[in-house]
């Protein structure tokens, strides 16, 4: 098997400001064989996307490519070719599928036009030929009722269908290489499964090569023949998918494989990157916690109980016409003290709305939330203040949930001031310092601004903010979904520690079934605003009853083992 593309000693740096230059890719070499799938794996900032985009030179203006770097394709060095040559190659011989199908398609053109554009550009087909080929392509990527969908605009299609259109555009000219940059990250797990199957099918059918970029080893294990693991702009390890998964050599690869929660075991705490990179155990081996976490005992009386929660949105569709959209149709559940309730579902299932309703961030249309013998939803705003601190939330996006104009100190002391915690400003400040230490951040963080921290650190700040209020119930709304796998593990460990320490009750909302499996004692499965299945999480994962749950569980990428 000869190599289609060879990347040799690729170095890319970015010019920031007048003098600052940041090296993003530091001498990366890898090959993409003909008719094979290579996966670039790494966390954010590892340089995987930059490496891949360098092949077609789709880099930002301020990028500097090293002089000795080479990208060989068809006997030419693409890095040295003029732009005209590259333009002829892009979309024809090498095409790209991006992460966000919603933003990669132009909203003012029909999908048919957008597929046709690339055909006319590179193949010079006639109108009739183009129209036929567009239909053929749409059928090939599995868009139902292709004939009618040709004239649809991107917003009329679902996310999965949009990504299919992107793939149709990419394969339209039968490229030799398809670069897929996190093509399934923005999609729901069941849709991800379909897209992965589609890419694998097309790869085999057209005998093309695929360069697949992902942060998710589970996905990579299913689709790739070869895996290149990257970190900090360098290749840590590359090899056959079997070797990488069965016998990883590099400590970082081992860590990546280990720190993702698994469906079959439930250790007391998740291994983190540092366990592997700086082993503390004997003989330089990492200490792996093998002790299993045991489910907590159930209490009879629930701490909080939701009865018949409903949320409707009324949309104006005409002058007098109103359409009612039900975000949550009927949600009743109870949570016992100290336990974790996992809420899973795909986007649009209403799982986030349920969390917001519980703490009255959204007003419910109907229903009750019983806590401490009172219905929280019927309290006045003043009465609610006393309960506000008891129920807290950690949001998904740590980049958005901290006020960028506040210092960490201000962020941490604000809730204390509001709820009258602490005797004086000094006292509150020292409490804030203690919280910062508790979540494992250095003390000097207190005077910094949120933008100076990484995603995982910001999520720790968000956790530190709620600690001083000593909430009884903590709603984690996709709290770790935006984080890298290794960071995810450390935050999950922190959440578990805090739960043990303060006896908090968690409502853990996530689309990530493996994470919920690891965290939750009880579970709700939601679909289209309804709870379709509930019960002990172990029981649901072992023996799902509802069809939707079965489909959901069946879609989880299982890594290399499952594919073998």
């Amino acid at each position: 098997m000869s190599n289609l593309v060879s990347v040799r000693d690729l170095r890319v740096s970015f010019r920031l400001g007048k003098t600052r230059v940041v090296e993003a890719v530091k001498g990366v070499s890898f090959d993409v064989p003909e008719n094979g799938t290579v996966a670039l794996v790494g966390e954010s900032g590892s340089g995987k996307s930059v490496s891949a985009m360098s092949i077609v030179r789709l880099l930002p203006e301020n990028a500097i490519v090293g002089e000795a770097s080479r990208v060989e394709f068809g006997g030419r060095n693409l890095l040295a070719e003029p732009v005209d040559v590259l333009r002829a190659i892009r979309g024809k011989d090498i095409s790209v599928v991006f992460q966000e199908p919603m933003t990669s398609l132009n909203p003012v053109f029909t999908v048919g036009d957008q597929i046709a554009e690339v055909l006319q550009l590179h193949l010079g087909l006639s109108r009739k030929q183009t129209a036929d080929r567009v239909l053929e392509l749409m059928n090939e990527v599995g868009i139902p009722h292709a004939k009618e969908r040709v004239n649809a605009y991107p917003h009329e299609l679902s996310g999965g269908q949009q990504q299919r259109v992107m793939i149709a555009i990419a394969i339209a000219c039968e490229p030799k290489l398809l670069i897929a940059d996190e093509p399934t990250t923005a999609l729901d797990v069941t849709v991800q499964r379909q897209i992965l199957d589609l890419i694998a099918k097309l790869q085999a059918k057209h005998r093309m090569s695929v360069l697949f970029i992902s942060h998710d080893l589970g996905v990579v294990g299913e689709i790739a023949d070869r895996v290149v693991v990257m970190r900090d702009g360098q290749v840590r390890e590359s090899g056959d998918v079997a070797t990488i998964f069965a016998a990883p050599q590099d400590a970082y690869t081992k860590a990546l494989l280990a720190c993702r929660p698994r469906l079959d075991v439930k250790p007391k705490r998740l291994p983190v990157i540092d366990d592997f990179m700086k082993p503390a155990g004997a003989n330089g081996l990492p200490i792996v916690v093998t002790e299993q976490r045991v489910a907590r005992a159930t209490e009879e009386t629930p701490l909080i109980e939701a009865i018949g929660l409903r949320k409707e949105y009324r949309l104006k569709t005409g002058l007098f016409a109103r359409k009612t959209v039900e975000a949550v149709k009927e949600a009743s559940f109870r949570i016992a003290r100290g336990r974790t309730l996992g809420v899973v579902g795909e986007s649009g299932s209403g799982k986030t709305t349920v969390g917001m309703l519980l703490m009255r961030l959204i007003d419910a249309t109907a229903g009750q939330v019983m806590y401490d013998g009172r219905d929280l939803l019927s309290l006045t705003a003043a009465e609610m203040m006393a309960y506000r601190r008891k129920i807290q939330i950690i949001f998904q996006n740590p980049y958005a949930s901290l006020n960028p104009r506040f210092t960490v100190g201000q962020i941490l002391t604000e809730p204390m001031k509001i709820h009258g915690i602490g005797a004086s400003d000094d006292d509150r400040f020292s409490q804030a310092v203690a919280s910062i230490k508790r979540v494992g951040l250095p003390v000097d963080a207190i005077h910094k601004y949120p933008h100076e921290f990484s995603g995982g650190q910001r999520q720790r700040i968000a956790i530190a903010r709620i600690l001083s209020m000593k909430p009884e119930i903590l709603i984690c709304d996709e709290s770790v979904s935006a984080l890298d796998v290794s960071v995810q593990a450390t935050v999950l460990n922190l959440l578990l520690d805090l739960q043990d320490e303060f006896g908090m009750t968690y409502v853990f909302i996530s689309h990530d079934l493996a994470v919920v499996k690891y965290m939750a004692d009880d579970m709700l499965v939601m679909s289209k605003g309804e709870i379709v299945e509930r019960g002990l999480s172990e029981a649901i994962y072992e023996n799902p009853q509802h069809d939707y749950t079965k489909k959901l569980l069946g879609s989880i990428p299982r890594g290399y083992q499952a594919a073998a």
């Binding site: 400001g17 007048k18 703490m359 961030l361 203040m385 506000r388 601190r389 807290q392 939330i393 949001f395 998904q396 996006n397 980049y399 958005a400 949930s401 901290l402 006020n403 960028p404 104009r405 506040f406 210092t407 604000e414 809730p415 509001i418 709820h419 000094d426 006292d427 400040f429 020292s430 409490q431 310092v433 203690a434 919280s435 230490k437 508790r438 003390v443 000097d444 963080a445 207190i446 005077h447 910094k448 601004y449 933008h451 100076e452 968000a462 903010r465 709620i466 600690l467 001083s468 209020m469 000593k470 320490e501 303060f502």
Partner: protein, 353 residues
């Protein structure tokens, strides 16, 4: 937890070093912007100048008639009197012989007495300069001093009117954007009414009601100019209202008022600031128009606008310097201010993520 927390006394905590705040970071970025820094220096120089003018350190005697009427600028040299060249005046001078009217003049006997009385009164007519540094106006007042004094009024009016407009626009925008619903609808209605009337008509209406004066000009411009600010702040508030950090603030029990002005306002402050400095530029120009139309500052004061309106008549006679001085000052300040605004926007609106 409480035991753990209280154990850490404030004294035991090493005071961590403060990291550069948003403003410091903005200043750092601004310092690297050469155009921004040059325009900042010019703007500061103007501000110093108007402070000095307000304290009567410079241009205090702008009303003094120090030169001959319409004295030309020094670099042009004194006006060569047309006495010798002009054939008409030469002719008048030659032929005019004094006619003795004392026989028929009933007042003739009193002349002597009057002359004696007049001699007793000291009239000191100071010598008038033939040229002035940048010329003089029709009364012989120094144009340069006028332009400096005019800067004081014009910039003062521009800045204060901008502050008034910003306060109104930001407050209404924040309310409309954050609360929305009925309140938002009502404010939109007010906004629509205000924008549906041509600005100049509105200005005339206000001017007719309020009478003349600097405060009036400030009020008029402020009351007319808030609409753009309102619109933009409202849009920002609608955007930020549902941001997660505001949601997070709500979750910990922060009141509406605090969410509006403690949480959101600092995050939209760059929009407000930039809009405000654009308003300053616009209002300086508006004041010029108002004064030009005679609705601006009172006659006993001077602004760039009154200078321009005087220049209209002078220009016909070829006395261009008053126009040049006012234009030069205004153009320099407005350009520098606009460029500074641009640089400020870049410095304040960084991609922090």
């Amino acid at each position: 937890m409480s035991a753990d927390l209280t154990a850490v006394s404030a004294a035991a905590v090493p005071m961590p070093e403060r990291s550069p705040g948003v403003w410091k970071a903005a200043w750092r970025r601004l310092k690297n912007d050469r155009v921004g820094m040059v325009s900042l220096v010019i703007v500061l120089a103007f501000l110093l100048l108007i402070i000095a003018a307000a304290l009567r350190l410079v241009a205090a005697d702008w009303q003094k008639e120090v030169g001959v009427p319409n004295a030309p600028p020094t670099f042009m040299g004194p006006r060569v009197e047309a006495v010798t060249n002009d054939p008409l005046s030469a002719m008048v001078a030659k032929d005019a012989k004094p006619v003795d009217l004392s026989d028929i003049d009933p007042l003739a006997p009193k002349y002597k007495e009057w002359e004696e009385r007049a001699a007793k009164i000291q009239i000191s007519d100071p010598p008038k300069a033939d040229t002035l540094p940048f010329g003089g106006d029709r009364l012989g007042r120094d144009v340069l001093a006028k332009a400096i004094k005019g800067a004081e009024i014009s910039i003062f009016v521009g800045m204060f009117a901008a502050v008034v407009a910003t306060l109104i626009g930001t407050l209404l925008g924040a309310l409309g954007g954050y609360i929305g619903g009925k309140v938002g609808d009502f404010l939109e209605w007010v906004y629509n009414v205000f924008t549906s009337i041509p600005d100049i008509l509105l200005i005339f209406a206000f001017a007719a009601v309020f009478g003349r004066g600097i405060t009036t000009v400030v009020l008029i411009l402020g009351l007319v100019g808030w609409t753009g600010m309102y619109r933009q702040v409202r849009a920002e508030y609608i955007k930020h209202r549902s941001r997660e950090y505001v949601r997070a603030a709500e979750a910990i029990g922060v009141s509406h008022f605090q969410r509006m002005f403690v949480h959101i306002l600092p995050n939209v402050s760059h929009v407000v600031l930039v809009r405000m400095s654009l308003l300053v530029v616009g209002f300086i120009k508006a004041e010029v128009i108002l004064s030009f139309l005679g609705l601006g500052v009172p006659v006993d004061q001077v602004s760039w606008g009154t200078m321009l309106s005087e220049a209209q008549a002078e220009l016909v006679l070829g006395h261009w310097w008053q126009l040049a001085a006012a234009t030069l000052f205004m153009a320099t300040f407005v350009t520098a201010f606009a460029l500074f605004t641009d640089a400020l926007r870049d410095a304040l609106d960084p991609k922090l993520r």
